[in-house]
């Protein structure tokens, strides 16, 4: 690994100042499960690595605010998210997604903010967060701003974070229409931990609005809504749902060069996983889970 300077700021102000000052020379270290691989293979070559795990504002933790909003600290690990009772109850799709990110060892280190900031199209937590309308809370020299997650991703490795901006938390707002029942599905090459060749979540609420988000089939995760109520309606036939799914998945553009799965397979699996996630979400909504 190429040498670099290690910085471990104790305050948010110091962290932001350092990131702003060093710009592209700096990389943020949270869980390190992606960064350290890339430091070793030389695909990133920072001058300074900024470990943000001791910045109080980014501390791990999942807190419920008044009105039902959940706030997840930036350095909260996948293990904590997958096990947290509120997440499991109210954001089931996220709990499921966090539980399949890598192995136990990876989940003990990998953070939610890291998973999002890498902006991997295959990030498993992104679809569930998208269907729950998650908001990224970022802090920069200009202060704090909130970015809807759908406005956060640009393409693989690139987000709309400004230079020097740091994610401090992820908020999962309470839905205006009661709770969203969600479910996550993915495809991998084996049952043991693997990168997703398709990752998808479905969220339903009592109004019949269906949100489907999916990744690993294009440069960034995609969120689509069904406002017709057809997907959500228990009485809908497969035939009725098909054109809606087709519209929802119309923007999937899987690479034909990927070695993890062929484009045709990924597109077909989107449809399979979409139906499966919908069925699970419907069952959860009905059960009041």
């Amino acid at each position: 690994m190429r040498p670099f300077t290690y910085a471990r700021p104790d305050t948010l102000a110091d962290a932001v100042a350092l990131l702003a000052e060093r710009g592209a020379e700096a990389r943020v270290l949270a869980g390190g499960t992606d960064l350290i691989i890339r430091l070793r293979d030389g695909s990133v070559r920072p001058e300074v690595v900024v470990d943000v795990k001791r910045v109080p504002e980014l501390a791990p933790g999942i807190r419920a605010r008044d009105g039902g909003m959940l706030v997840i600290g930036a350095t909260t690990t996948m293990t904590e998210i997958a096990a947290h009772p509120l997440i499991r109850r109210d954001v089931a799709g996220l709990a499921e997604a966090a539980a399949v990110v890598g192995s136990v060892q990876i989940r003990n280190r990998a953070t939610l903010a890291g998973n999002l900031c890498n902006a991997s199209p295959a990030a498993d937590t992104a679809p569930s967060l998208l269907v729950h309308g998650a908001v990224v809370v970022a802090h920069g020299l200009a202060g704090e701003r909130r970015i809807g997650l759908d406005d956060f991703f640009v393409r693989s490795g690139l987000t709309t974070l400004a230079p020097g901006e740091l994610v401090v938390a992820i908020e999962i707002p309470a839905s205006g229409h009661g709770r969203i029942a969600s479910a996550h599905q993915r495809r991998t090459r084996r049952r043991g931990h693997d990168l997703a060749s398709v990752t998808l979540a479905c969220g339903l609420d009592a109004t019949g609005l269906t949100r489907i988000a999916y990744g690993s089939v294009g440069p960034r995760p995609i969120l689509r809504l069904d406002t017709t109520g057809v997907l959500a309606a228990a009485a809908s036939t497969d035939e009725a749902r098909t054109p809606i799914f087709e519209a929802i998945f119309a923007d999937a553009t899987p690479s034909v060069r990927s070695m993890r799965a062929g484009a045709e397979y990924r597109l077909a699996m989107l449809r399979v996983l979409g139906r499966r996630a919908l069925a699970t979400a419907q069952a959860r909504l009905a059960a009041g889970e």
């Binding site: 084996r190 070695m259 397979y265």
Partner: protein, 761 residues
């Protein structure tokens, strides 16, 4: 007094196990010697390149960098080595032949400095067209992988066909012309896969007086010693090979790879040099040969196999390594454990610009058995005969010369088949949505062999066993200690087994072909019996009996009058006040046989029957192995737990190449899935829901107490048994491995080809 007589056939804790659970076990990468320097390989990022110039000056200017060793720094012409053909240069000279073929070695004070040095070496190269598939290698005008001069006397030198192995008996064409036959002809492919031992390969060398010492993760220390002695022109006695227990071998660590380069670097610098490969570099050092096979088999109406006509093209790498032997030996028993009147097998070793393929558990058999057993399954379906019945109707029985002029059938193989069928519940209805498949496999054991052992019975009755076998996880050390314990009466923890040092341990040809329990085991047994014979004289003198009235066996001295003494009592008295010891020598030799295509008939066959119950998710193509039954003929399980672990390990490794493993090459011949993220092997979540390993034991093997080798058999049948189960469940036949979800899904989209669904149970 003979409390440990029962050691054979029980499963004591692994000898050496305590160090393995405390972290104290020293693998090569855990060792160092004073002043050791660190080396890294320099490669070029294409499959084939003309290397014009290597400029190491910038690297040498970096801190700590001591040497940039290139082919130019070696004796000229650049020395070449290899277990079969001397075709692998110590470092690539002129042209690189595969992605990962090293052109230089950078040696520095630290590993990091060596890495920095590698980045600073400038290699002036030009990419050249490469051949990385059978079709490309055989195409008209294809570039030759090996220079003609290396194969001057070889009539095939103007092609990429390194060798062609033909096995034939009976008249295949006449048999095929018989009326009433059902003839099935299909093509199958088996991909390149890699060993993925969790310990990456590692090497170290140091000048040692007027010789050299070499440390390696090698399976065959004596072979490496010979290789290094030949390259350095040193006598064998001046080349000392240390071979600490490998962290998994599976065949990949049998033969020298980069040890020669490390030796030349160490001798040039006069300092120890170590090279620990990354996992990625290990993937670029060893793999299994891919294979494209065509099988044409004729069946009579009652399910007899009338003929087999088999062609197999094995895609080997750029240097021979042991790959030609893999092709020859792996294809030799391709007609399977059946009595077939007419057989023609043509197997070719095709050179390509890919990682040199080498020995890998199963040694060429899994590739061809996949094709042949799948063809038999298809024949059974077409005929409407139960696949188990078809196999039993054709199966060789003990003593049958099912391969003419070879070792006759040496086991009650039908017992294994019946047991596997019974355990999977073959005659019971398959649960809805599932399918079942069964396959048989054989592999020739060692065809030649030479193992020596020295056993020392020390004055207190404890024992030191010297064995040149490598204990790479199979548990050789434990079994050897059990044999010595059984014969000499010492408890296991009074026995030390010394391995892995050619200056101390007598010669052993190799650790391969599941040979060690049989060959080295017999050598140890002979050494123990040598001691027993000496004890007999000592005891007779001590006890005032005639030699003929004394027997020594299983740790006990017995007199004709019925008196019994533990060996150690007689020993203490017999050695007298000076003490000392009794040394036994053992030799197990299996000579080459002139005229035999494999240089000898096998000492035994490994026989396995595997039965699978599986289900397929029709939407996604996921295959779930619900039940996996493996039954091997082991002769006698000297250590039943270790037998089961080897059998299960082979079975799960077989699931790897059946369901998920393969190298994916890009258009330039580079391995795209280089590393653990995209080369998938089974995890604890990818196991069969139920895995059952059973052994057939008739004590009819040539090893100690009737044992046979058994570490590879359970891998031979996995792919055909799983594919048959998938076909049984879905009606769809898949003839390319691995059976990834995507491949299965695609096959399901196409649907059952005409005839594919026939004969479903």
């Amino acid at each position: 007094m003979t409390a440990l007589d029962g050691t054979i056939g029980t499963s004591p804790n692994r000898v050496g196990g305590i160090d393995r659970v405390t972290g104290a076990q020293r693998y090569l990468a855990d060792m160092s010697v004073t002043d050791a320097l660190h080396a890294k390989l320099v490669t070029v990022p294409v499959a084939r390149a003309r290397v014009a110039r290597i400029d190491g000056s910038a690297a040498l200017a970096l801190p700590g960098v001591r040497l940039v060793l290139t082919a130019d720094d070696l004796p000229q012409p650049v020395p070449r080595f290899g277990p079969q053909n001397l075709d692998r240069p110590v470092l690539a000279t002129g042209e690189t032949k595969y992605h990962g073929d090293p052109v230089a070695l950078v040696v520095a004070d630290t590993r990091e400095q060596a890495e920095a040095g590698v980045a600073a070496v400038h290699v002036d190269y030009k990419a050249l067209p490469a051949v990385c598939t059978v079709a490309a290698a055989l195409a008209t005008g294809a570039p030759l992988v090996q220079d003609r001069s290396l194969r001057a006397k070889d009539p095939r030198r103007n092609t990429n066909v390194l060798n062609e192995h033909v096995v034939a008996w009976g008249d295949v064409e006449a048999a095929a012309a018989e009326p009433g036959l059902t003839i099935v002809e299909r093509r199958y492919t088996f991909p390149m896969v890699t060993h993925f031992a969790i310990e990456p390969h590692a090497f170290m060398a140091a000048p040692d007086g007027d010789g050299v010492s070499v440390w390696s993760t090698i399976q065959h220390p004596n072979w490496l010693q010979k290789t290094i002695a030949g390259l350095t022109r040193l006598p064998l006695s001046k080349v000392r090979v240390y071979a600490p227990d490998p962290g998994g071998g599976f065949g990949g660590k049998q033969h020298a790879k980069y040890e020669p380069a490390v030796v030349f670097a160490a001798l040039r610098l006069g300092r120890p040099v170590r090279l620990v490969l990354t996992l990625e570099e290990t993937f670029q050092a060893v793999r299994r040969a891919a294979c494209e096979a065509r099988v044409r088999t004729g069946f009579t109406a009652d399910g007899r196999i009338a003929f087999h006509d088999i062609e197999a093209d094995y895609l080997i790498g750029a240097y021979t390594d042991i790959a030609d032997r893999v092709v020859g030996k792996g294809s030799y028993p391709a007609a399977g454990p059946y009595n077939v009147p007419a057989v023609r097998i043509v197997a070719r070793a095709i050179l390509s610009h890919t990682v040199p393929s080498t020995a890998f558990r199963g040694f060429g058999n899994p590739q061809i058995n996949w094709a042949v057993e799948s063809t038999i399954d298809e024949g059974a379906r077409v005929l409407g005969i139960d696949p188990v019945d078809v196999r039993l109707r054709n199966l060789a029985r003990k003593g049958d010369r099912f391969i003419p002029f070879d070792t006759p059938c040496d086991g009650e193989w039908d017992q294994a088949v019946r047991k596997a069928a019974e355990l999977i519940g073959w005659d019971t209805p398959c649960p809805p949505g599932r399918g079942r498949g069964i396959a048989l496999g054989i592999k020739s054991g060692p065809t030649t062999g030479l193992s020596y052992s020295i056993v020392r019975l020390l004055a207190d009755g404890s024992v030191v066993v010297y064995a040149g076998t490598s204990d790479m996880g199979q548990g050789a050390r434990t079994v050897f200690a059990q044999i010595a314990s059984h014969e000499l009466g010492a408890p296991l923890d009074w026995i030390t087994v010394v391995m892995g040092d050619t200056a101390i341990v007598p010669y052993d040809q190799q650790t391969s072909a599941s040979r060690s329990t049989v060959l080295m085991g017999n050598a140890i047994l002979a050494a123990c019996r040598d001691i027993q014979a000496k004890l007999r004289s000592i005891a007779a003198t001590q006890l005032g009996a005639a030699d003929t009235d004394v027997t020594v066996a299983e740790g006990v001295v017995r007199l004709a009058d019925g008196r019994e003494f533990p060996i150690r009592e007689v020993l203490a008295a017999g050695l007298g006040r000076l003490g000392g010891e009794i040394t036994g020598l053992g030799e197990m030799r299996k000579e080459a046989e002139a005229g035999h295509p494999l240089s000898g008939a096998p000492a035994f066959f490994e026989f396995n029957c595997t039965a699978i119950e599986a289900e397929v998710d029709a939407d996604t193509g996921d295959v779930t192995i619900d039940r996996h039954v493996t039954v091997s003929d082991v002769g006698k399980a000297l250590n039943p737990l270790q037998v089961r672990m080897q059998d299960e390990g082979a079975a799960i490794m077989g699931l790897g190449h059946t369901l998920m493993e393969h190298y994916i090459l890009d258009d330039e011949g580079r391995i795209r899935n280089l590393g653990a993220i995209d080369y998938r092997i089974p995890t604890s979540m990818d196991l069969p829901r139920e895995l059952r390993s059973e052994a057939v034991e008739n004590a009819d093997g040539p090893g100690p107490y009737g044992s046979k080798g058994m570490s590879e058999g359970a891998l031979l049948c996995v792919a055909p048994a799983v594919a048959a189960a998938v076909r049984d469940a879905t009606g769809v036949a898949i003839r390319d491995l691995p059976l990834t979800p995507e491949r299965v899904w695609r096959a399901l989209q196409v649907g059952a080809a005409p005839g594919d669904a026939e004969g479903r149970r």
